[in-house]
């Protein structure tokens, strides 16, 4: 199995070298209705994020007296993968990913500025080619910045795996479903701190450092691209 993922010439199934990222495309500020929105394409994975808030919580019980509550809804379109698979909203897997994303943003967003309010993030995956979690986090970060919600730093995420003795960056669908260990990392680029580390398979401790280092390197390059995207969006004339 591992032999298929990394050809002897050192090329992966999609022709990339092990430490290569997929092509990144971003658009910020798509929806007129949402306070902030962003669209991220990482290779063939397409993700849309919309942020609403800070706003009045839907139910009185859903508020915290000293800070804002971040709610994440993560949806994968039924047409997004090779086979049509319709998932209900309460699918445990989707709820788990939503919870991971929520906990990724909680330490970064300055929620103490908005007590008793809520910030809603809606994520929709339109096309799934692996790396949905980190595409979703990157799209949500851009959408938060577009909404003007104060954050102490950017959040950038990337995934890395391990096959045939080499660490691979930014896994696609084939690599992810081939049972390679996959580590997703969310990082704050300015301070280098990690805000989320997610792995659901087994990886030998000897290889862990290489995979982690590659993932953080990937985060840093993604951070540069996201930086450029936001600067461009700031420069497009909006009356000041």
């Amino acid at each position: 199995m591992s032999r298929e993922l990394l050809a002897p010439e050192g090329l992966r199934v999609d022709g990339r070298r092990p430490p290569e990222l997929r092509r990144l495309l971003t658009r910020v500020g798509l929806f007129a209705v949402a306070d902030g929105s962003a669209y991220v394409e990482l290779g063939n994975t397409k993700c849309l994020a919309a942020v609403y808030g800070p706003k009045e919580p839907r139910t009185q019980s859903a508020q915290l007296h000293d800070r804002a509550v971040i709610n994440v809804e993560y949806n994968v379109a039924s047409f997004s993968s090779g086979e049509r698979k319709s998932r209900t909203r309460r699918d445990k897997r989707l709820l788990e990913i939503a919870s991971v994303i929520k906990r990724t943003f909680e330490p970064v967003v300055m929620t103490a500025t908005f007590p008793r309010s809520e910030i809603d993030i809606y994520i929709q995956i339109l096309q799934l080619d692996g790396g949905a979690l980190h595409a979703a986090i990157n799209a949500s970060c851009l959408a938060m910045i577009d909404a003007g919600i104060p954050m102490s730093d950017y959040v950038v995420a990337c995934s890395a795996g391990f096959a045939s003795g080499t660490a691979l960056l930014d896994l696609n669908y084939i690599e992810e479903s081939a049972e390679t260990p996959a580590l997703t990392v969310a990082m704050l680029p300015k301070s280098g701190k990690l805000t989320m580390l997610n792995m659901e398979s087994r990886l030998h401790l000897d290889h862990f450092k290489d995979v982690l280092d590659l993932a953080t390197e990937g985060c840093k390059s993604l951070a540069e691209s996201l930086d450029e995207a936001v600067r461009k969006a700031c420069k497009t004339p909006r009356p000041i």
């Binding site: 009045e56 007590p115 008793r116 309010s117 003007g148």
Partner: protein, 238 residues
């Protein structure tokens, strides 16, 4: 030259840091002045540093004029929507000449021009329809007729600037009255419905357009205003 700062960027501080006042979008994290939003860093002569960020959600701040929509009537106050994180309260007595016997007659859905009197992150914000210094209305109060345009906060700030090219340009075409709320809402009223619609569409289109495009947009608008409106029965009832 304005620099763009992104969340987490440390902002260069002018010479006298002790007397520096930080405005919206900047905060002190671990001893350094850091940006928490994406925007242009601006400073003025009064040693004030702030971030001009484009945003749609309004965060209330004392003294700012806002356009509020009445959501509910309670005994002592009205509950209004100002487009912020929480609905605001408008006390029944916060109008010119209002007493317990003489209450203002506002229906649910009425539009009101008011100023923010209380804006604290831990409490619901409060607005008032009087100028606190003079106890007179000074333009605040219910707005009748016209239409409301939703725009970005940056657009409202630029409309409130002296000699805003958009408003000056419009005023050269036809007379109109306007109330600009810092919460991303602009109210426009003119003599005919057609003028109101043209003015509202113009403001909507100008939000996000580069300043260099405004003169050409005004020229196109001028042509539309001067078009004869036969077959245009928008004013059939007036």
């Amino acid at each position: 030259m304005a620099t763009i700062a992104l969340p987490g960027d440390v902002v260069a501080v002018p010479d006298d840091p002790a007397a520096l006042r930080l405005g919206p979008g900047l905060t002190q994290l671990l001893g350094a002045v850091t940006a928490v939003k994406a925007g242009l860093v601006c400073e003025d002569s009064g040693n004030r540093l702030w971030l001009n960020a484009s945003q749609k959600r309004y965060i209330p701040s004392v003294g700012e004029p806002v356009l509020a929509v009445v959501q509910a009537k309670h005994a002592e106050n009205f509950r209004v929507d100002i487009g912020g994180p929480h609905p605001a309260l408008l006390p029944v007595l916060a109008f010119e000449g209002a007493t317990k016997r003489n209450r203002p007659n506002l229906d649910v859905g009425a539009l009101v021009y008011a100023r923010v009197s209380l804006a604290n992150k831990d409490m619901d914000p409060e607005i008032e329809c009087v100028n606190p210094a003079t106890s007179k209305a000074d333009g605040f109060g219910e707005l009748k007729g016209g239409t409301v345009v939703k725009c970005s906060l940056g657009m409202c700030r630029s409309l409130m600037a002296k000699n805003s090219p958009i408003l000056e340009g419009l005023s050269s075409l036809f007379p109109f009255e306007t109330a600009i709320g810092m919460n991303g809402r602009v109210w426009i009223n003119a003599e005919t419905t057609r003028q109101i619609v043209l003015a509202a569409n113009f403001i909507r289109a100008a939000d996000g357009a580069p300043p260099s495009r405004i003169p050409s947009m005004l020229k196109a608008l001028k042509k539309r205003v001067e078009e004869t409106d036969d077959g245009d029965d928008m004013d059939a009832d007036s």
